[in-house]
Subunit: 368 residues, 2 copies
């Protein structure tokens, strides 16, 4: 089977690019002695990708209960569920741990810490520290930190932080500065808790940009990153990786042609691409995605998806579109703004290795 | 089971609101003698909803091959697949028709018309006419129209148009004017083709706003509409329906609290809500959704989801949030900007009837 045989729209994963991205991250992490990589599977949501990204059932990060279950049952026992936990979800996680997993939860709330401590099942938790993202987490210098740690008692496994504000960076230097600020804050939090007698075996930090570009990770035991596996237009624009490192694209067919307006319609619209517009905030705005040829190469004028209807993507280009080569049914590929959201719109990956031959179909665990 | 027992995030459908919306559309269509309603199932993607919206296996519209198959196998034989068809998809549709369905395809392309005419299986097609939306369709006064109609020959079943530009309207008067312009153009196209001997039994027009608010539908045989079943914040803002008519919400749990910033985090983020920002263009901008209480009632200050991360939705409010009633794990509901995209993020509907009791779970046919 080749890319010409697949029903469109569908999701294409280039395994060669994926492996290159995984190697680049491994090398970046290996610069820091003693630092472990805990890949975040929220982007890939696939055991086949996890086999490459977290080989030998190494530690992973997940973002949903569905992922926690799917990966635990697949053999990945050492997990952090990196979204603030609610008391209602503890039973399900304790059940996974009874069955052999060690899924650690995160919290920044005193009542939840008490619920974790009081739960009859096996649980362990990290306290989430806000290192500047201003999303979740206890401020690193807050008195609440000690109260939560004390409440967790022996169930306290360490600290975690997310440097998602690195996405506001626009250069490798920005990423390095944000990584250093994250390190400074989470280590300050760790120092105060260790002085009070907490062991904190895990100090978990990260985001793809900071994992790749941090200069010093001393004191951090592990780094978490997810989007680096596949890359996307936004990450390319902010300097996390090169444009050629985008491993995931949407295969689409031409379903409309308007030479008088120099536009095409593709059968990849808002559902197949997502409505993410994150490149609106980057130097180059790719609309809802960059249109490539069937082999993933740029087209003249670098057309983009300017409008996204539910099942229609409207292509616009600065250069005349090659209508003679693009009859209805012709196939193109679209590189996504935000690969996590685009991938989540699809049930599986059709895997290629640089060419048009489809060498595998890999499943995903979507939903919650 | 009640709303307190469901895992979050998940999709809630209020069947009472749904039935009211269906009745309102039926009444609107009944104002026009001889006009049929062909509900578009692209929003609901559910046989249980279709039983109410297209009872007795009445005519429906679909937007994917997966929907065409699912509804044909469920008994809805009379379908229009209202996205420009490609030659590659004709075999699958002919197979459905061999099995008893009459799924009509649409095209605005001469080569595709020839492929439809030459296909060995049973097929029928409508020519798509551009009535001002400037997405798909042949201009109503184009010579291409006759060429396509002639090529289809006996497989020509009629004309169809989509007045999606009614979404740019901001009042009932706007909708009525756009409906009249659609009618004028598609009837002009029909007149020229009928003069050339084409019968055109179907003249299919529509969008939810124009189906509800058209003043005159003489000459139109059927109207298509989908989003009216569920409604959303965008449709409420442009005047299609009232705010109280939104039937679909996302049930979410509080997963973070920051009284110092007057913000909450919910476990409904970009995946559970979609990143649709259509209310950015309406009088009131709801961010990524309007936050309601567990019973679907407004909260003081009408908080919205201001930021949507993959699994986190950050709530902002003009009024102080009621933190005393919102511990971690407390439940809220979020009304969506664009119900078609939000619903597509979920596998099923949890059905309520005004209260908190969950009376059914209804499936959806997502993907392609």
């Amino acid at each position: 089977m080749t890319l010409d045989d697949l029903p469109t729209p569908c999701l294409i994963l280039d395994i060669g690019v994926l492996k290159r991205n995984l190697a680049a991250m491994r090398e970046a992490v290996a610069r820091h002695p003693g630092l472990a990589l805990r890949p975040h599977l929220k982007t890939a949501k696939s055991r086949e990708v996890a086999r490459l990204a977290a080989p030998d059932f190494g530690p992973i990060t997940v973002s949903t209960l569905a992922e926690a279950r799917y990966f635990a049952e697949g053999g990945w026992r050492d997990q952090i569920y990196a979204v603030g936990i609610t008391p209602q979800k503890l039973d399900a996680l304790a059940a996974l741990n009874v069955a052999g997993a060690t899924v650690k939860v995160i919290t920044d709330d005193l009542d939840v810490a008490r619920a974790i401590a009081a739960h009859p099942g096996p649980l362990a938790a990290l306290v989430e520290v806000d290192v500047g993202e201003a999303r979740g987490g206890v401020p690193h210098d807050s008195a609440l930190l000690a109260a939560i740690a004390d409440s967790l008692g022996p169930r306290l496994a360490g600290l975690m932080s997310h440097s998602g504000h690195s996405y506001a960076g626009r250069s490798i230097g920005d990423m390095a500065r944000i990584a250093e600020e994250e390190r400074r804050r989470i280590l300050a939090a760790a120092e105060s808790l260790r002085a009070a007698g907490h062991a904190l075996p895990i100090i978990s930090a990260g985001s793809s940009p900071t994992s790749l570009h941090a200069r010093d990770m001393a004191g951090i035991t592990e780094t978490r990153a997810g989007v680096y596996m596949f890359g996307d237009l936004f990450q390319a624009e902010i300097g996390t990786h090169a444009m050629a490192d985008i491993a995931v694209t949407v295969l689409a067919s031409v379903i409309g042609r308007r030479p008088d307006r120099n536009t095409l319609l593709l059968d990849a619209g808002a559902l197949a691409l997502s409505k993410d517009r994150s490149t609106e905030a980057t130097p180059r705005d790719f609309g809802f995605g960059l249109v490539l040829d069937l082999d993933g190469r740029p087209l003249p004028g670098e057309p983009i998806i300017r409008r996204a209807y539910q099942e229609h993507g409207e292509v616009q280009s600065a250069a005349p579109l090659p209508f003679d080569r693009l009859p209805i049914g012709a196939r193109l590929r679209v590189a996504p703004n935000h690969t996590c959201l685009t991938a989540a719109a699809h049930e599986r990956y059709h895997v290629v290795d640089g060419g048009r031959e489809v060498i595998a179909a890999w499943g995903r665990v979507n939903h919650w």
